[in-house]
């Protein structure tokens, strides 16, 4: 067996806990900035809470706007994070080790944020009670809440399990520098982990069970979310492809968000030694497949839409929704997404010259923004489209909606920064496991030596 150089191990340990012990000036500056944005969002929400949904751009016809778009988007991001980690774990991809912690943390944070939006969209949060008082088992709304809550619990367990050995490490090695409060957290949550072989075996088994369970669960969450739209008779939504279309879209945006998180924390905490260009290229490969697939799904969906809509919305005139998307009032949004959210990112990660870390990060940024735009394009035009022979409705988001959306977007990086002030940013346990597995693979086999 080849010995693992001590220096490498120490680097992993030190790098993993660096955000806990030495967050740096940048942390406080960014925390203040994001805190400011979230505070502004909180003020906006308070205004909405006091005055009702009147302060939003929502109206009688367009009852779903930014908030529902945000819900679909943020839950989609979460889904991408969890699924990336779970699939890489189950396929035993050795390069996953430095990525999984950030991907799983992002899944939890964005899910919590996304899960708040249905409540925000209600205007009066107490109306959420009606779901339990008058819930209908035939309604996707009820199942959506069930699926999201189940997925949320599973994501937390999925995040927690591989954290146990690292918590034990922090418990035993950080000492007083971590502070009393953190020490209590580490002691309680590490469950007396000592790294015995039986403990490791148990943990591995449990992690495998959850990794398997979270995949169908994540698929179900976004499928049920898509059926909120798909089972209605609204133009643009009544589509059989919506389940897989949403799932693919969620993965597309989720993997892009994982890349952004990796790029951000890699730069901020100098994790270049652990997260290299190859990690980004591997994720970019996944992104490329998802991007092309999503483009195909969108084409297939719009093609059938074009025929189906003929003469449906208006008493006269061809496919109104498609027309509005392609050439009408939503054309700017639609073509912006197609150009900046699909074609340019796919080109950036396809061309070897731009297939660099900055190129992949730029592509991911475009995808994340573009996919949010796509959610708006899915939600708003179908609501604004007339299903009676009347004019198109209009929707213009108010400052309140914009502020709350920006606050949610700021809450994800802030949530992650706070997470990594408590928990190691890289899974020390998995890094060591991966290193040992690699060492074992490279070690000369005794039988070969005998020859």
């Amino acid at each position: 067996m080849v010995a693992i150089p001590h220096s490498e191990r120490v680097d992993v340990n030190a790098a993993a806990v660096k955000p806990i012990l030495q967050p740096g000036q940048l942390f406080w500056m960014l925390a203040a900035l994001f805190g400011l944005i979230i505070f502004a969002g909180g003020v906006a929400y308070m205004q909405q809470f006091r005055e009702g949904l009147e302060v939003t751009g929502l109206n009688q016809r367009v009852t779903w706007g930014f908030y529902i778009s945000d819900m679909v988007f943020f839950i989609g991001i979460s889904y991408g994070g969890a699924l990336t980690s779970a699939i890489l774990r189950l396929t035993g991809a050795p390069w996953r080790a430095p990525l999984t912690r950030m991907a799983e943390a992002m899944a939890v944070v964005s899910l919590v944020i996304g899960g708040l939006f249905p409540i925000i969209d209600l205007g009066r949060p107490e109306n959420m009670m009606n779901l339990f008082l008058y819930g209908q088992v035939g309604s996707p709304v009820l199942w959506d809440v069930v699926a999201i809550s189940t997925y949320m619990a599973t994501s937390m367990v999925f995040f927690y399990l591989p954290l146990i050995p690292d918590l034990a490490y922090c418990r035993d090695h950080l000492g007083p520098a971590a502070g009393r409060l953190r020490h209590i957290v580490y002691s309680r949550l590490s469950l007396n982990w000592r790294g015995t072989s039986r403990q490791k075996r148990l943990l591995e088994q449990n992690m495998t069970i959850i990794a398997i369970a979270i995949i169908p669960l994540a698929v179900s969450v976004h499928s049920v979310l898509s059926w909120l739209f798909g089972v209605t008779l609204r133009p643009g939504w009544n589509s059989t492809i919506f389940g897989p279309y949403f799932v693919l879209g969620a993965m597309y945006s989720g993997v892009a968000a994982v890349i952004l998180v990796l790029a951000g924390f890699r730069k901020a905490y100098h994790l270049e030694a652990f997260i290299g260009a190859q990690h980004f290229k591997n994720l970019a490969n996944i992104l490329l497949v998802l991007g092309v697939g999503y483009g195909y799904f969108m084409f297939a969906e719009l093609l059938t839409e074009g025929y189906k809509m003929d003469g449906f919305v208006h008493e006269e005139g061809p496919g109104a929704l498609l027309h509005e998307l392609m050439q009408g009032r939503y054309a700017a949004l639609f073509w912006s997404f197609v150009t900046f959210g699909l074609f340019i990112p796919v080109a950036l990660i396809s061309i070897p010259k731009t297939r660099t870390i900055p190129g992949i990060a730029i592509a991911s940024t475009l995808i994340v923004v573009g996919m949010w735009l796509k959610r708006v394009i899915i939600v708003v035009p179908s609501m604004a489209a007339p299903i009676m022979p009347v004019e198109w409705a209009t929707y213009w988001p108010s400052k309140v909606e914009v502020a709350i959306t920006l606050a949610a977007a700021a809450a994800i990086p802030l949530g992650l920064m706070l997470f990594f002030r408590i928990f190691p940013i890289i899974s020390i346990y998995e890094m060591e496991e991966a290193a040992e597995a690699e060492a074992h693979r490279l070690a000369p086999h005794p039988a070969e030596e005998a020859h």
Binding site: W28, F49, P165, R194, T196
Partner: protein, 562 residues
């Protein structure tokens, strides 16, 4: 010592008693104890099985036990979610018998507490009453759609529910296994997690693990930058945030009470009209909406018409929801003159204003893409395409006027402005492009507009609840009707300078003298009023000594002016 304790205890009890008494007095609300105005429930308030709503009815009486008509009564229900709060259900005006009713669809089941409150006015002090009612909850309105896989469908929720339980069970199993198994397998040989090399733990920053000073600095920054903004927002802001002041056409959802901003908004909408009638006499009424044999609107019927215009001795009605122009025949019936396009940029559907100029009707599309020029016999002779300046929101045209030299004036409600174009549609300038910070001169929701003989522009400000006069050059001159107008829609000025304004909330046309003094109401009515000629008055014109009022429900109502 004991004596001191007893004194202190007595003082404490006394204080508590006083505080409780004061709190109870405050909780009684405005003028509860007043004997001058009474508000009482009308009959038992109870939800009838099978009905999804409850009618909340109260009667308001004055000191002499006479009913108080035309008073605004607000209804609330006590909600206990997130603490006790009054949730406003809505307002209702009392009729001639002093009764005010509001239909409420309860969202919660059980006995609820309702409050009816009259805020008081110059003549009557405030009063309120509380009452209990038993809400049965909403009527079952969900019906499962029938389709072929009924068996699968009925079993599917059960199967999915079972699957969800399996997932939770699995999760519980893993959690339990982790929480119990890992400590059990810890062993005793290894007291610490092995670290192959000790971690070089850096010294805590500033000698402390928790950088309190930095946290405090960040919080201070937050407070310094955000607190003024928050304070400004919480105190109502500019009124422009969230488009609150532009919500003329929107439904108010989720309005929570105890909101100073909303209370102010309700206060501002509360209009008490003096009991004064303008001496106009009803000449004739042309019903606008006629039903065919099958109960649908007939082909000749208008569908919520919004405006009226006179040209070549004929009267024309703008059929808003059908996007066409109707004429009044000699038999006092409606007859289509111009059938508009159903969709597209030349469609008149949704248009709410028209005017005349040089023997032609000028009708703008609601989005402002075209102003159709229509001859009196119905032929579209052309269209002016106004070159719209940049706008923050989609344009929503709700008023039009044409100057003597042919310049077009269009009021854009959504963007709070009146736009002036030349006869070819080239943009000239903007009048009243302002917001609430512009004070009296600002336009919050410009709707109907008209020009008087001197060329002055009169603009109805629906949200600002006034009519504003601008000089031919566009300078603000004065405001008329403030404090009397609730939801004004359109304005017309007679030759002698009297100003007539349709008011949706008053269901009347309010008349003002040239100096702005209030002359009285025309066609005033209430839910069960004495003179229910007008229900939703919108457009209006003064032609010689006759006042033409286009009521969206009642049709065209003509009055002779004194």
């Amino acid at each position: 010592m004991r004596a001191t304790t007893r004194v202190l205890l007595a003082a404490l009890l006394l204080g508590l008693g006083l505080a409780f008494g004061a709190g109870t007095a405050l909780a009684d609300g405005p003028g509860l104890g007043s004997a001058q105005t009474r508000i009482e429930t009308l009959g038992p308030i109870q939800q009838t099985p099978g009905q999804h709503s409850i009618t909340l009815s109260v009667r308001l009486t004055g000191a002499d036990s006479r009913p108080v008509p035309g008073a605004r009564v607000s209804f609330f229900v006590l909600t206990t979610v997130f603490g006790d709060r009054l949730m406003k259900l809505g307002d209702a005006l009392t009729d001639t018998t002093g009764a005010a009713s509001l239909v409420y669809t309860p969202g919660q089941v059980g006995v609820q507490t309702g409050v009816a409150r009259f805020a008081g006015d110059d003549h009557y002090p405030a009063a309120q009453t509380t009452f209990k009612f038993d809400a049965l909850g909403p009527v079952e309105r969900h019906h499962n759609a029938e389709f072929g896989l009924e068996t699968v469908r009925s079993g599917l929720p059960l199967a999915i529910g079972g699957l969800v339980l399996v997932f939770w069970g699995l999760l519980g199993f893993v959690a339990l296994r982790t929480v119990r198994g890992i400590p059990a397998f810890a062993g005793a040989s290894s007291p610490r997690v092995p670290a192959r090399m000790p971690l070089p733990v850096p010294a805590p920053e500033h000698g402390r693990a928790f950088p309190a000073r930095r946290m405090a600095a960040a919080l201070a920054l937050l407070l310094v930058v955000v607190a003024p903004v928050a304070w400004w927002q919480l105190n109502g802001g500019s009124g422009s945030s969230g488009g609150v002041s532009l919500s003329t056409g929107s439904t108010r959802w989720g309005t929570n009470d105890h909101a100073p901003g909303m209370e102010a908004a309700h206060e501002s909408k509360r209009v008490q009209l003096p009991d004064k009638t303008f001496p106009a006499t009803l000449v004739e009424t042309t019903p606008a909406m006629a039903l065919g044999p099958e109960g649908n609107l007939s082909a000749a019927s208008a569908n919520l018409p919004a405006d009226v215009a006179m040209l070549d001795g004929k009267t024309f009605v703008l059929d808003t929801n059908r996007g066409r122009i109707l004429g009044i025949t000699g038999d006092n019936e409606l007859s289509p003159v111009m059938e508009g396009e159903w969709t597209g940029e030349a469609s008149l559907r949704g248009a709410t204003a028209m005017t005349t100029h040089e023997g032609r009707l000028y009708v703008p599309t609601v989005g402002g893409e075209n102003v159709l020029v229509i001859a009196s016999y119905g032929r579209v002779e052309g269209a002016v395409q106004p070159v719209m300046p940049k706008s923050r929101k989609p344009v929503n045209i709700s008023g039009i006027a044409v100057t003597r030299r042919g310049d077009l004036l269009l009021s854009d409600t959504a963007n709070r402005r009146v736009l002036r174009f030349d006869r070819d549609g080239a943009f000239l300038d903007t009048i009243g492009d302002a917001d609430s910070t512009a004070g009296e001169a600002g336009l919050l929701g410009p709707a109907g507009i008209t020009l008087d003989d001197a060329g002055n522009l009169w603009v109805v400000d629906t949200v600002g609840q006034a009519v504003k006069q601008f000089s031919p050059e566009g300078d603000f001159l004065r405001s008329v009707g403030a404090g009397l107008l609730g939801e004004p829609r359109a304005v017309a000025v007679s030759r002698r300078g009297d100003i007539f304004v349709t008011d949706d909330s008053a269901m009347a046309v309010l008349a003002f003298a040239a100096d702005g003094s209030y002359l009285g109401a025309v066609g005033a009515g209430g839910p069960a009023g004495s003179d229910p000629q007008l229900q939703a008055p919108h457009g209006l014109r003064v032609d010689a000594d006759e006042l033409y009022v286009m009521d969206r429900f009642a049709g065209l109502v003509v009055y002779r002016l004194p």
